[in-house]
């Protein structure tokens, strides 16, 4: 057993290096002396605030819509469940840019619902709402799948008991099911938020990279790459630190989930 692990460990180190070498390279090349410029840079600061705002709103939308969807999915027949699960999972396997094109096709100016939306005075493409919609599209599956998985493992007898006690299904959901599910909801929300912050392909297609309006951090990094390579490196390094922080916070949450 040990010996097998011994020879396989060489491959394991190679695999790890696939992740670690690029990150190492990034941190070696970051012009640490210019980190101050990063915080002084308008592009970076504005993009930071847009990213923070849109990703938090997107996470809130995911929570508001995704938790009921997860509960619904956990309660339907297994056949309908596998259909719903497949649909929900599509954005995970889809190239994000395709998601952006799909959004344009549906709610863009010349999209299926474009006329309808403009008749009530709503224009979505190249707005901050478009950034949020793109983020919701790619982030929703992470929340729904995490929470739904937890719902399915829940002791359903507790729900039955709450019904007999006198709770309608809705009250039972809010007073019993949700309080039993906080760790999973938090873990799902953190994943969805992180995915929203990292979103690039769908939002650059549907919302564009308009500085001060729709340009988020990943878009800013991409733009900086053309005119200030060093600053792009610095910004990227900051996002790696952010990602590491998310994983660390999530690790303790996930441990809590398995303990509950």
């Amino acid at each position: 057993m040990r010996r097998t692990a011994g020879s396989l460990s060489v491959i394991a180190y190679v695999a790890m290096s696939m992740v670690l070498i690029p990150i190492m390279g990034l941190f070696i090349r970051v012009p640490w002396t210019r980190i101050g410029d990063l915080f002084a840079s308008d592009t970076a600061r504005t993009a930071f605030w847009i990213s923070l705002q849109t990703s938090l709103i997107a996470t809130a939308v995911c929570l508001l819509l995704g938790i009921p969807l997860a509960w619904f999915m956990a309660n339907v027949s297994s056949r309908l469940h596998s259909v719903l699960r497949a649909i929900v999972t599509i954005p995970v396997v889809l190239p994000p840019v395709v998601g952006g094109i799909a959004l344009l096709a549906a709610v863009g100016r010349r999209g299926v619902f474009g006329d309808l939306l403009s008749s009530i005075g709503i224009t979505l493409p190249y707005t901050r709402s478009a950034v949020v919609l793109s983020q919701v599209l790619v982030a929703m599956p992470f929340l729904v799948l995490a929470v739904e998985n937890h719902f399915r493992q829940l002791d359903r007898g507790v729900v039955d008991a709450s019904r007999v006690m006198g709770m309608s299904p809705l009250r039972s959901f809010f007073l019993v099911v949700l309080p039993m599910s906080w760790p999973a909801v938090v873990a799902g929300a953190v994943l969805a938020w992180a995915r929203s912050v990292g979103e690039f392909g769908a939002s650059i297609t549907f919302a564009g990279s308009l500085r001060g309006r729709t340009q988020t951090l990943p878009m800013a990094v991409y733009e900086l790459l053309e005119n200030d390579w060093e600053l792009a490196m610095g910004l990227s390094a900051l996002m790696v630190v952010f990602a590491a922080a998310v994983i660390l916070s999530l690790r303790s949450r996930l441990l809590n989930t398995s303990a509950a």
Partner: protein, 210 residues
């Protein structure tokens, strides 16, 4: 009379034919081999299982009658139930678990605070109020589940193996506590049990299911 069941439950290959009337003040021991439908009978009265045909009437209110398109949801029946698996909310304290049942019956916040303590005390679990139910022993959790079942002042009390899976000493104590509760209970009690001593000391009659 306060609980009458005339009809049939059908789930896959399993059928349970019932032709029973129960009176207020009775403690009926439901006995029979595994798979005879003891738990199904309790779930039927609670509304978690539905009749295939016939009718179920609780204190004059028809709760289930498929031929007349009548089915009253579990939350709209007046039932207290102690499940075989207890099904307490493990993350909540004992007091909070009991309070949930009061909240379900729309008891005001002020009254809930007073009632949850007295309900726990009534079954000898007053000292467990602040403990999370995940950390309770089998006997302790059963007391909390009993307090929760009584909380809504139900018309019918359903007890599915309320004294199982605890050691002899606590069993004796809990049996005494349960005996006191059942003596005062005004409605019908259905008690599923395998233990002759429990049945002898708690029940007023038996219902055999085969």
């Amino acid at each position: 009379m306060s609980l009458s069941i005339h009809g049939r439950v059908q789930r896959g290959n399993f059928t349970l034919d019932l032709n029973e009337e129960f009176h207020n003040g009775e403690v009926v021991a439901v006995v029979g081999p595994n798979g005879a439908g003891k738990s199904t009978l309790l779930h039927l009265v609670a509304g978690l299982v539905r009749l295939h045909e016939g009718s179920l009437v609780v204190n004059g209110m028809t709760c289930d009658a498929p031929e007349q398109d009548v089915y009253v949801q579990p939350e709209n029946r007046s039932i207290g139930m102690m499940f075989q698996g207890l099904h307490l909310v493990p993350q909540f304290s004992s007091a909070k678990n009991v309070e949930l049942a009061l909240q379900a019956r729309k008891v005001s916040r002020a009254q809930r605070a007073a009632l949850r303590g007295s309900l726990l005390a009534q079954v000898g679990a007053g000292h467990l109020a602040d403990r999370k139910t995940a950390g309770l022993s089998g006997g302790e959790a059963q007391r909390v589940a009993l307090a929760r079942a009584l909380a809504g002042q139900p018309q019918v009390l359903l007890l599915d193996e309320p004294l199982s899976a605890i050691d002899a000493d606590s069993r004796e104590q809990l049996r005494l506590a349960l005996g006191n509760v059942l003596t005062d209970f005004p409605g019908v009690v259905l008690l599923v049990s395998h233990d002759p001593t429990d049945i002898e000391s708690l029940a007023t009659r038996r219902l055999n299911l085969y």
